[in-house]
């Protein structure tokens, strides 16, 4: 039950964004740039980083929301998303992505946990400055969003069928205040 009075028809972070539209707008803009760019890192890569970090932070809502968005970008390959959550070193992803997930895992603990060896390894696998920057910032953003959602005990839907519906909406329309201003996606 949320710690503040929010619209009970809105799930997870959406209810919090609706509570405070002034902070929702820049949060949505940041998400749109960081997760919907497809230069260097693909949209799937970006959502996989977000999903991985959210699973490390044990945030059910963010983990499954972004996991389902990644599934969309990966043409329905939910097994791949699960393998990244459970053991990315053995997942069918590039060595560059593995090196970036290693950095993400360190940032999730603390910015100071990142070592020069982590960065050298990523560069060795072909990561650019932009890739490294965006990996660190996506991780940092999700360390914020996971705390925002769980810190206010936002309503977390247990009906797993609702997550792919919201994911499809994001894939089609992106991030922004429409996620709480428009009707929530319903069963098709």
């Amino acid at each position: 039950m949320p710690y503040i009075s929010v619209d009970e028809n809105l799930p997870g972070v959406r209810a919090l964004l609706a509570f405070r539209p002034e902070t929702a707008t820049p949060i949505g803009a940041l998400a749109e740039i960081l997760l919907r760019s497809s230069d260097s890192l693909s949209r799937a890569d970006r959502e996989l980083i977000a999903t991985y970090v959210s699973s490390l932070n044990d945030c059910f809502y963010c983990n499954h929301s972004h996991g389902e968005i990644a599934v969309c970008y990966l043409n329905g390959n939910r097994d791949l998303v699960d393998s990244v959550r459970n053991n990315y070193q053995d997942a069918a992803i590039s060595d560059k992505m593995k090196s970036l997930l290693q950095i993400a895992g360190k940032v999730q603990q603390s910015g100071k946990s990142v070592s020069p060896a982590d960065i050298i390894n990523a560069r060795h696998q072909g990561a650019s400055d932009r890739d490294i920057h965006d990996t660190v910032l996506i991780t940092a953003v999700f360390c914020m969003m996971n705390r925002y959602v769980d810190g206010l005990d936002a309503y977390t839907p247990q009906d797993m069928s609702s997550y792919p519906l919201r994911a499809k909406q994001i894939v089609e329309k992106g991030y922004g205040n429409h996620v709480f201003l428009q009707a929530q996606p319903d069963k098709e």
């Binding site: 710690y3 705390r147 810190g151």
Partner: protein
């Protein structure tokens, strides 16, 4: 103060000092007072409401699930509104982002604390928008 406190828990020197200096400017206090709040807010000369919000911020820094209903109830008992509770959690969460961004990319931070104190008045006036951060 919430930002400075969370940054101190995350051991991010740059953020701790930028925002500690800002709090010092707004409170018109000295550095010692800010350091006292960071070190042990429960015994600092701040309101019970702020103490209860800092406790929530401290829990958010550990993880969202560390915030308890009891902490929220206590904050409400001291007059905290939904907006104040929301903003406290989001500020704490935002600094868990900024601290990781700054330290995760290995940025440099001036070591002389006076540098931050000297800049606080200008930052308070100009704010944090993109264009103003180039100064």
């Amino acid at each position: 103060m919430i930002g400075a406190y969370v940054s101190s828990l995350n051991d991010c020197f740059f953020c701790e000092n930028v925002h500690g200096a800002m709090a010092q400017h707004y409170y018109q206090c000295d550095t010692h007072f800010i350091d006292q709040v960071k070190a042990d807010f429960t015994s600092a000369s701040i309101s019970e409401k702020l103490k209860s919000l800092l406790a929530i911020a401290g829990s958010v820094q550990q993880g969202g699930k560390k915030v308890t209903a009891a902490q929220i109830d206590l904050a409400r008992s001291f007059g905290a509104t939904d907006r104040e509770i929301h903003d406290t959690v989001l500020i704490a969460a935002a600094f868990c982002m900024f601290n990781r961004y700054v330290d995760g990319l290995g940025t440099w931070a001036p070591q002389d604390r006076q540098v931050y104190i000297d800049r606080a008045a200008m930052r308070a006036k100009d704010g944090y928008s993109q264009s103003s951060l180039k100064k």
